[in-house]
Symmetry: C2
Subunit: 429 residues, 2 copies
């Protein structure tokens, strides 16, 4: 289908920055085919009137566990050990494929409704998450989370499960895959090397949690005499394209290692505050040209899947803790949530509103008090928008949110089944 976004304010990249200007944008099938002027012989199947609307490339959520929406608000304001060992792990064991399917769809619904078109996921159950995402029509990069010790059977089984999942969905045009060794405290060095070799062989990236908590950092120093980053470097993991989630405790020399190997960061500002892990040194990373993307993390440690909230925190907290009012600007933050995400997730032709890129787009209604008076609309996206003002979302040229409502997802079914899961694992509310 062909779409024409008519006389609309659009966020367009220009010389490494952005300009917001009123223009016309044209979509032909899955591609942005024209900006300002239509491609030859263009005939729109539908025209979107642009008055009081803002058009942007879709947001990219760079670290998630989408199925965990069923834990939302079930484990807040408790200490970490209670969170993990009482509230999350035993209940995670109670989840069946059906629970995980609907939990993932709930996250897809919240992501789409708030302008996210692509996400990187780490999950626990073979085939279910890719199926839920494919049914939603979203673009995603999937990692089956794997853990192991050396060549012990359970770890090798998980690795082969991950490969089997990749094989099962290899023909889906919107899905790609990464290997997902969970973390250095759940995978031993030998296992990390095995996974790393396998990734190299298949030409796939690595997606891993890194240096999330002060405890992880301290234990790595004690056990290996190395920071978690130095340890991964020593194992050769960074010879693969890698995205590390969290990276809260990174030292200055760790950041140099990231820069040296072009390691990507999937930062999670809200989750890191919520679980009391701290604030990642994003300003330093950006200063050293490390590619920083941002994500929500799972809804069990965030309580939302709304990237506008991550953008808002990302643009504010580094100013406060660095006593630097120009640290991590709105423009930097928008990059973290879009083009840097595309780079980190290795999704081609995404992350910017430009001709030839994939038609992953959102339209926001800016006829709301939080957008008046209209001054700097890129700043407004980071500092004033709530993410609930989204009206239309396209992924790969298909309309997935139309007038605020999903076209591929069954809202009532999702609410019904996730409520059933919650009752099963948390008891009747």
């Amino acid at each position: 289908m062909n779409y024409h976004f008519k006389n609309i304010l659009a966020i367009i990249p220009k010389h490494g920055k952005y300009e917001v200007r009123k223009t016309n944008v044209y979509v032909t099938d899955d591609i942005i085919s024209g900006i300002d002027t239509p491609p030859e012989n263009f005939k729109a199947d539908r025209v979107f009137e642009g008055e009081n609307k803002l058009l942007s490339t879709g947001l990219i959520n760079a670290h998630n566990h989408a199925y965990m929406s069923v834990f939302r608000n079930s484990a807040d304001d408790v200490i970490f050990e209670e969170w993990l060992f009482k509230k999350i792990l035993p209940k995670e064991d109670m989840l069946d494929d059906e629970d995980i399917y609907w939990g993932t769809q709930l996250s897809c619904l919240e992501m789409l409704k708030s302008g996210t078109t692509t996400f990187l996921d780490m999950h626990i159950t073979k085939n279910v998450v890719p199926r839920a995402v494919t049914d939603a029509g979203m673009r995603a990069v999937i990692s089956k989370g794997i853990v192991g010790e050396g060549r012990a059977e359970y770890g090798m089984k998980r690795l082969s499960d991950a490969k089997e999942e990749m094989e099962n969905f290899r023909d889906d045009p919107l899905l790609t895959f990464m290997f997902g060794p969970h973390a250095i405290y759940t995978c031993d060095g030998e296992y990390l090397k095995i996974v790393s070799e396998e990734a190299k062989k298949m030409g796939l990236p690595i997606h891993i949690h890194l240096d999330e908590s002060p405890v992880e950092h301290k234990e790595a120093l004690e056990k290996y005499g190395k920071t978690p980053t130095e340890y991964l470097e020593s194992l050769g993991v960074f010879e693969n394209k890698t995205i590390c989630a969290h990276c809260v405790q990174l030292t200055d020399s760790d950041i140099d290692i990231f820069a040296k190997y072009n390691v990507n960061v999937g930062a999670n500002p809200v989750s890191n505050l919520k679980l009391a892990n701290g604030i990642a040194p994003i300003k330093k990373m950006l200063d050293k040209n490390v590619n920083v993307a941002i994500g929500t993390d799972g809804p069990g440690s965030n309580n939302g899947q709304n990237m506008f909230r991550e953008m808002n925190f990302n643009a504010l907290i580094h100013k406060g803790v660095n006593h630097d009012p120009v640290a991590v600007s709105a423009s930097d933050t928008y990059k973290c949530a879009t083009v840097n995400g595309a780079k980190a997730l290795d999704v081609a032709n995404c992350g910017e509103l430009k001709i030839g890129n994939k038609a992953d787009l959102f339209v926001m209604d800016i006829h709301q008090p939080q957008f008046y008076p209209r001054t700097d609309l890129l700043a407004a996206l980071c500092y004033s928008a709530r993410g609930t003002e989204i009206e239309t979302v396209l992924v790969d040229g298909k309309i997935l949110i139309d007038k605020g409502e999903p076209t591929t997802l069954d809202t009532e079914k999702i609410y019904y089944y996730t409520a059933k899961t919650a009752e099963k694992i948390h008891g009747k509310n």
Copy 2:
């Protein structure tokens, strides 16, 4: 008018905490007249069906400069001196009464639409803000911001202007007043004593900015050999009921002074991050039973008027910076945004959903992905809600937001006039 909120999930105080339960709530004229059971001979003029709705007492914004909405997103990502001396002060001088009226109404619109029913304001122009607020129908506590040196004429004129404004609006049942000496760096000691004496004579509280920036703290130590808090104590200001905005740099012994004199805090988490001033020691204040309320500050240093954002930051940042996942819980935060605000602002019978209290209420649509599955709805308010899900808002028993739309405010007029102001002060966008 009498209203019945039927079979609705309501947040009800219980033994210093809250329970969220499905019940019926009755409003007779301006008062909550029944919970669970109606008052005698109750006849509803309108019934609000409660399915998939959440009812709460209205939020209280404990520090604001509402007229500054015309600066929204006009001065982001710049250093403080540029913000104040290039972007704010010269442009503030360009504002006339009309600009301030519509700017204030824009803030009232954003506040009401996001569930705020009462706010504490500090403004610059006699009579205009109270008029804009009265026309909106909101509850507010107004301080004309005043500055002065000793008995110098300009300061005394401002003081008499403030008193004149109080006199002009003394019969408005929804407005009360505080004296608003701006800060210790804009008022000298003698002037602060004069204002303090006047407040004592009239039985009115003091509303002042305190210890916002590291510079203010350092200069007070250099000039007076005292912290800003010790300095105000030495002047006798705290013998009045007082609310201090910001309080970012408070020392432990400053907090003890606050506890000793029952000084109230109007904390501004987002503004303090944005202007790079830091993070107020809210956890320590709450531990010492200091009454902490929260507010947005003006939209020039926040870019929004949405208290859900302040709640979200308040419930998250103290966990992160204190490495304490139970610091400042959802329940603590909801108190900061409601009952603590009522106490700090000295507005009687507000801040809790209980019989006999004022009917200042909001209804939120929770049939949205961010509220599923439904587990802990108080946590959901602080960690998942966006503030844009509000459908109905009552102030003093009057419906000011009905099905998401204002009943007293003219949205299009507000957008039109604030855009005109923006064009005048910022140039054509």
